[in-house]
Symmetry: C2
Subunit: 254 residues, 2 copies
């Protein structure tokens, strides 16, 4: 099964990734993954780094582990290929599309077997580049997002509920302004307030290290597997939708 | 002025970039650029690496200079910000959109002052994320590309001619299957056949090094400034459109 991770922070922070730790938390070593990807928002655009290979073999993942890239909204995914699909760049999360001048980024943990043939999940103008049911489901969601004009959690929830009824739908997505997380099975939330941090403080959240900011920091983390042993990780009940902005949960729909 | 570079090759090859050399050829040092970006196709999807900072200061550009990423279709751009626009990720080339399941990548050298207000260059569903006239012109071209359903050079040329009449339009774009280059001022073409190369041969093309392939290789390079001193670089007359596939020029429209 794939691993999902997402972060919303008040102050843009230097984020460093260690995919080895993510993978181990998910019960497999970094050698046994089929791809990994990270979207790091910078304003309304984002850096999207992906590789269709184990992070342990990827020079790009090593680069990410060695460097800090500044962001306050991050979505990450580790892929374990299922259903005989090819291991390719086009099948590697996160996926992204532009809607109305906003970059929409999407990652998914679960599956929607046969969704390609289901008329209830038809597509609009957005079409998959790869073969995953995840990207197909994203393109289906985009139809509704384009219809509404913007990414809106209230409007999106019925579509996400329908996807959950159709398969397994742990989903994170963002337009750079807000982080939306939708829980099916195994989605966890951690809220953390870090008062009066200094530029030199490094915060280790188990696979993600961040620092390089001054002042009061707020952080919301979403993860399929809790990254630390803290009891503060809340397991989200199936069907829960969380909206985070600037490191704070602003909406929680059940 | 910005620098453009693109490559089409028969055999996917390990490409290594040295932005310092690109910048010097363009008459400025790597310290005096406002951003750089590279799209490396891998099948129908691509890796898109961009940074809104001088390549000389970018750890990501250093990573690219140190590692070989395999690709047979590459588009690259070095940005010098003009018109008082912010130096931001969203204003950094190349730009990309998905059309009909294809990733379309675009980079531009020139300007189209006031194009945002010109009703002759209206937009369809694709909207700019940043503020550049380049991305705006790309979104305008996408309207025609979506109308035709695919990226087609014959259909595209009148649109490109209209852009050239409106400003300065040195443009490269690709859907992963073909490389299209459109010349206004200062666009150059190099065709090279490399017979019976071995895995260990390294080919240095002045800022781009490639190797790691066996057999007969064909390469087409497009550059705003010739990367080497070879006389074989052809200056493309204004209005020329070149289509390259698998390292060979397959169409040349004037």
């Amino acid at each position: 099964m794939c691993e999902l991770f997402a972060m919303s922070a008040l102050i843009p922070t230097r984020v460093r990734f260690s995919f080895g730790i993510f993978s181990r938390r998910g019960g497999h070593t970094g050698d046994h993954t089929d791809g990994w990807g990270v979207a790091l928002f910078d304003g309304l655009d984002c850096r999207l780094l992906r590789e269709p290979m184990p992070a342990a073999e990827s020079s790009c993942a090593k680069y990410l582990a060695a460097h800090h890239i500044r962001s306050n909204l991050v979505i990450s995914h580790i892929r374990k290929a299922t259903g005989g699909l090819p291991i390719s760049l086009a099948n590697t999360h996160p996926f992204e599309r532009e809607v109305n001048g906003s970059r929409i980024v999407f990652a998914h943990r679960g599956q929607f077997a046969g969704i390609h043939e289901d008329p209830a999940f038809s597509l609009g103008i957005d079409r998959p580049i790869g073969q995953t049911d995840s990207e197909y489901a994203f393109c289906h969601l985009l139809r509704g997002i384009r219809h509404g004009g913007v990414l809106d959690a209230q409007r999106l929830k019925p579509q996400l509920d329908a996807l959950r009824a159709r398969g397994v739908a742990n989903i994170v997505l963002s337009d750079g302004r807000q982080l939306i997380a939708y829980a099916d099975k195994d989605m966890h939330l951690l809220r953390r307030h870090c008062p009066r941090v200094s530029e030199d403080d490094i915060h280790d959240l188990g696979g993600v290290t961040f620092g390089g900011f001054c002042g009061d920091q707020d952080v919301v983390l979403i993860a399929s597997v809790p990254l630390t042993d803290e009891a503060a990780w809340e397991e989200l009940p199936p069907g829960t939708l969380v909206v985070a902005k600037h490191g704070v949960v602003v909406e929680l729909l059940r």
